[in-house]
């Protein structure tokens, strides 16, 4: 039932502040066709002064190389201050296949990503 909605694939971006972190949740299909929309949503949400950006990909239904490129850009813009939450294979697999899991700071849950001792937070101190 809800799977039928997912097949539509329309992407969405929501943002909320959690302390010094900005949690960006992205859902739907993130691919070459939808990336302008996703990029615009992400750019708008990250325009503020958040110390850390948590990119939550838990609700992503498809991720291709255009989505990876967006993540790389986010990482380059704020080295050490991006945390990526990708528990599901549909998002995690492309990240791992390209070795980006060695570049990005990966988590399984938003809670883990927001934990004080996370590697990314240590990066902020430096």
């Amino acid at each position: 039932v809800s799977a039928a909605d997912n097949l539509d694939g329309t992407p969405w971006v929501t943002a909320k502040r959690v302390g010094a972190a900005l949690v960006l949740a992205v859902g739907g299909d993130v691919d070459h066709a939808t990336i302008p929309e996703v990029r615009a949503g992400v750019a708008k949400a990250t325009a503020g002064d958040a110390q850390v950006v948590v990119l939550d990909l838990s609700a992503v239904t498809f991720l291709d190389s255009a989505g990876l490129a967006l993540m790389v850009n986010l990482h380059v813009e704020r080295p050490g201050r991006l945390r990526v939450v990708a528990p599901m294979p549909i998002a995690r697999r492309p990240i791992e296949l390209t070795g980006l899991d060695q570049v990005l700071t990966m988590f399984d849950t938003v809670t883990d990503a927001l934990a004080p001792g996370s590697p990314a937070l240590k990066g902020v101190d430096g």
Binding site: D29, D31, A33, S65, A66, I90, T98
Partner: protein, 169 residues
Amino acid sequence: MGSSPAMPEPEPGSRHRDDGPPPSPASGLVVTDLGDGTTLHLRIAGLPEIADARRRLHAWLTAAQLGSDHVDDVVLAAQELLVNAAEHAYRAHDSGPVHLLARLSPPRLTVTVTDTGSWQAPAPDPGHRGHGLTMVRALADSVDITSLSAGTRVTATFTTGPRAGQAAG
């Protein structure tokens, strides 16, 4: 335009019909499914149709009873090949169609994507294109790239596992 072939497929379960929007009349996507689960041909006219093509392939592979992990892998590889091909086609002076041919012959599945553009090696900073090819090579057992007189043909070969593609009856 070629005649749009009827789809003689034997209703592969309940999902195929229901999920995914029907191709809009404006869509240049042409689907040819022999209906025996061995061959699927998709013809797309450009980038906007790739998502639709990807969903068709997903449904076809699912109907062929590939495991969902296999399906996702093949669809991801096909996506990257289609994007590359469509971008080649657009760069060429006349943007011809892009063809995807999926052939299932357990334990092998091949996905062949053909364009009429000019293949270009990844730039020094390949960006998403580099990631795309990296993924295809990681996902497939082998990748063959052939330069045609007008265009490029890329064939990715996958192992489907023993259960895939067994006809139900």
